[in-house]
């Protein structure tokens, strides 16, 4: 019984070493989808309040039939390079399953030939930053086969900004300040009590 267990351990260790490097690479995809979104260059939108309308369609200049493999289209909100700077948790990696550029999902739809559009209310947990929109086409095996985005290849044009909610509320602010003040006041109270006790013991 020890031999199979030993093999299992070795296999597990080995599998830790073997980097799972298979998967779809972004550089292998063609930009066959045309994506447009309502925000204009430099526009500032508010999370939890504003909306983005995204439209996408297959680029007819590509060979017809290329899009027969597309089963679903997932549209995502992606960070522009300036919002990725000094933030390795938003890093762009060519291997798509490790890529962290586009963490926020806007919508997922089955692929249809006609013009697709969706109006998305920007969710309240979207952080502040500079963004663009990208759509991925997935095949039946749920692998990316094509993409489209609202910006250019260098991700430098047509970027818009989203301002996040602060998450603060007046009640929280008040509670925070009150508790802090109470801590200090009670400390002063302690010193006063100590002084009185000391005087009392001196008189004894």
């Amino acid at each position: 019984m020890e031999v199979p267990a030993g093999f299992l351990v070795v296999y597990l260790l080995f599998s830790c070493f073997v980097a799972s490097s298979y998967g779809v690479y972004f550089s292998s995809l063609n930009e066959t989808i045309i994506v447009t979104a309502t925000p204009t260059q430099g526009q500032v939108l508010k999370a939890g309040e504003d909306q983005i309308t995204v439209t996408w369609r297959f680029n007819q200049t590509y060979r017809a039939g290329t899009d027969s493999a597309y089963k679903t289209v997932k549209v995502k909100l992606c960070y522009a390079p300036i919002s990725q700077k000094d933030r390795s948790w938003r890093k762009t990696v060519d291997l798509l399953k490790k890529d962290k550029t586009c963490p926020h999902k806007i919508v997922a739809r089955p692929d249809t030939a006609s013009n697709n559009s969706f109006t998305w209310s920007i969710e309240r947990d979207i952080p502040s930053g500079v963004y663009f929109v990208r759509a991925f086409a997935f095949n039946a095996q749920d692998e990316q086969v094509a993409y489209g985005q609202t910006t250019n290849a260098h991700k430098s044009t047509n970027l818009f900004e989203i301002q996040a909610i602060t998450g603060r509320h007046v009640s929280l602010d008040i509670a925070s300040i009150c508790f802090s003040a109470f801590s200090i006041v009670s400390l002063a109270g302690f010193f006063y009590m100590e002084k009185r006790k000391a005087k009392a013991s001196q008189q004894k």
């Binding site: 597990l12 260790l13 830790c16 070493f17 700077k85 000094d86 933030r87 390795s88 948790w89 490790k98 309240r124 947990d125 952080p127 502040s128 930053g129 996040a164 909610i165 602060t166 998450g167 603060r168 509320h169 929280l172 602010d173 509670a175 925070s176 300040i177 508790f179 802090s180 003040a181 801590s183 200090i184 009670s186 400390l187 302690f190 100590e194 006790k197 000391a198 013991s201 001196q202 004894k204």
Partner: protein
């Protein structure tokens, strides 16, 4: 040295001539000794929870406050740098005002920083709240001082190790507590992410404030009472700050231990800050798993640091101070070696295994250090404890700035280099020498007694006024540090040339 029976009848535990407990009973809450123990470790635990409450919630906080990796790194360094001077100041405050007032004051003064974390709105504000919250880690010094005031030399290592270790546990526990509190608020109460983390911070803040109240109302400074009452009634002399400070900074042993503590405790703090990211980035585990691994490093403190303290007392019983020093040197060296190894291992399970063994050794070294600290000085116990504790934080700041900032070294290179630095700094322990007990390589000087060493901290004028009585009693009680062999040596003091505290 055995105590007369009638004076200790009012204490639940057996005590020595200073009324310090000679036994340690973990599951008792008897006043004043065991109650002081439980108050000190719980309050120190709460300070650790508050100081390291942000790291597990960083994935949410960094999006809310738009933090960069540099902002996060700087806040992490700020969190441990405030305590460098706060610990020395706390040591002084303990010597002058007593651990009860000193620690409850500090805890209450830093509680607002934790409350105000909830309304932080920018990277600068985040840095400020982490900086000021970090001051609360100075309660470590009051913890050790309080234990050294309540427990006799034969159990002081155990008491110090348990209170320090169970306090440090907070650094690990918070990696589990904060995400749990956050998800309760976010999922069950339904607050948005960016509000839920803010509400979550109220929990450690309230815990911290409540522990300060408990110390104030339930604790007392010394077995016989509080400083204020003892000073006013004349039983305890109110010492002068300049003298206390002078005798601490002129004792080279305090400086050596401050540096070596920077390379066991400082390393522990550094690892608390970087280890989750290390496992996340190098081995591609998810954030939740990385948090659990990070927590397990800190949770080893449950037994490893106390183990170091208990080991120090066990070895001290047999081999005296020389045994304590040797054990400290060996354990910390092995810790350094394991740290070097940790950076070189490329597999996840191997890394976790080495990290766990490394955590035991490095935390045991912390416990062993504070088995030696109570003996360096009696008059300036607080400042020496503060210097050593502060040195721990200096080590954390230095290590993070040199090895874990920017992209000069990869994290694994940084970890291995940190291991090398641990081993180099630990060599300094070879230089520690107590004239009455010896050092690593040399035996004690003939004819030198514990009284010579501890009473040299007082001038003749002060001795005439009887201020040195505490040190006299302590000298008697520390005779055990000669070990089993030295206990039979006659206790005569060399009156012609009293050695100074070199």
């Amino acid at each position: 040295m055995e105590v007369s029976q009638n004076s200790d009848r009012k204490f639940t535990l057996p005590v020595d001539s200073e009324h310090k407990a000679t036994e340690f009973r973990l599951f008792s809450v008897a006043t004043p000794h065991m109650r002081a123990f439980h108050l000190s470790w719980i309050s120190f635990f709460s300070c650790f929870v508050s100081t390291f409450a942000a790291p597990p919630l960083l994935p949410i906080i960094r999006d809310n406050l738009n933090l960069t990796a540099t902002d996060i790194g700087n806040a992490g360094i700020a969190a441990v740098s405030g305590a460098v001077f706060a610990r020395v100041a706390m040591g002084t405050a303990c010597d002058l005002f007593g651990p009860r007032l000193a620690s409850s004051s500090l805890i209450l003064l830093t509680a607002p920083a934790v409350f105000l974390s909830s309304i932080a709105n920018s990277p600068a504000a985040f840095l400020m709240v982490r900086f000021f919250t970090g001051f609360s880690l100075a309660t470590f010094v009051s913890t050790q001082f309080w234990m050294s005031s309540m427990f006799s030399p034969n159990v002081v290592g155990t008491a110090n190790g348990l209170s320090g270790g169970w306090g440090n546990l907070g650094g690990g526990a918070t990696q589990l507590i904060m995400p749990l509190v956050y998800s309760l608020i976010h999922t069950n109460i339904g607050s948005t992410k960016f509000t839920a983390w803010r509400i979550a911070f109220f929990i450690p803040a309230l815990f911290q404030a409540l522990s300060a109240y408990a110390i104030f109302f339930l604790g007392q400074d010394m077995p016989d009472g509080n400083y204020v009452r003892l000073e006013k009634s004349g039983e305890k002399h109110k010492d002068s700050f300049s003298q206390v400070f002078y005798h601490a900074i002129t004792n080279y042993r305090g400086w050596i231990l401050a540096l070596t503590y920077g390379y066991c405790f400082g390393v522990e703090l550094t690892i608390d800050n970087i280890i989750a990211q290390y496992f996340y980035d190098r081995f591609d585990v998810n954030l939740h798993t990385a948090g659990i691994i990070a927590a397990s490093f800190g949770l080893a403190n449950l037994f490893s640091r106390p183990g170091g303290g208990i080991l120090s007392d066990l070895v001290g019983k047999r081999y005296g101070m020389r045994g304590r020093l040797w054990t400290l040197w060996v354990v910390q060296m092995i810790g350094g070696l394991l740290c070097l190894l940790l950076g070189k291992i490329g597999s996840l399970s191997g890394s976790v295994a080495v990290m766990l063994v490394f955590s035991v050794f490095v935390q045991a070294a912390c416990g062993l250090t504070f088995g030696v600290v109570p003996f360096i000085s009696r008059r300036s116990l607080g400042v020496i404890s503060g210097m050593t504790g502060g040195g721990g934080n200096v080590g954390a700041v230095l290590t993070q700035v040199i090895f874990f900032r920017g992209s000069r070294y990869s994290t694994e290179e940084g970890i291995s280099l940190m291991g090398v630095m641990i081993m180099c700094c630990t060599l300094l322990i070879l230089l520690i020498y107590f004239p009455q007990w010896g050092g690593l390589f040399c035996g004690p000087r003939k004819g030198v007694t514990e009284e010579d060493y501890y009473l040299s901290e007082w001038t003749d004028a002060e001795k005439e006024q009887g201020f040195h009585k505490m040190s006299m009693k302590f000298s008697e009680n520390s005779r055990r540090e000669r070990g089993k062999k030295g206990a039979s040596v006659p206790i005569t003091s060399d009156k012609e040339t009293p050695p100074t505290m070199v």
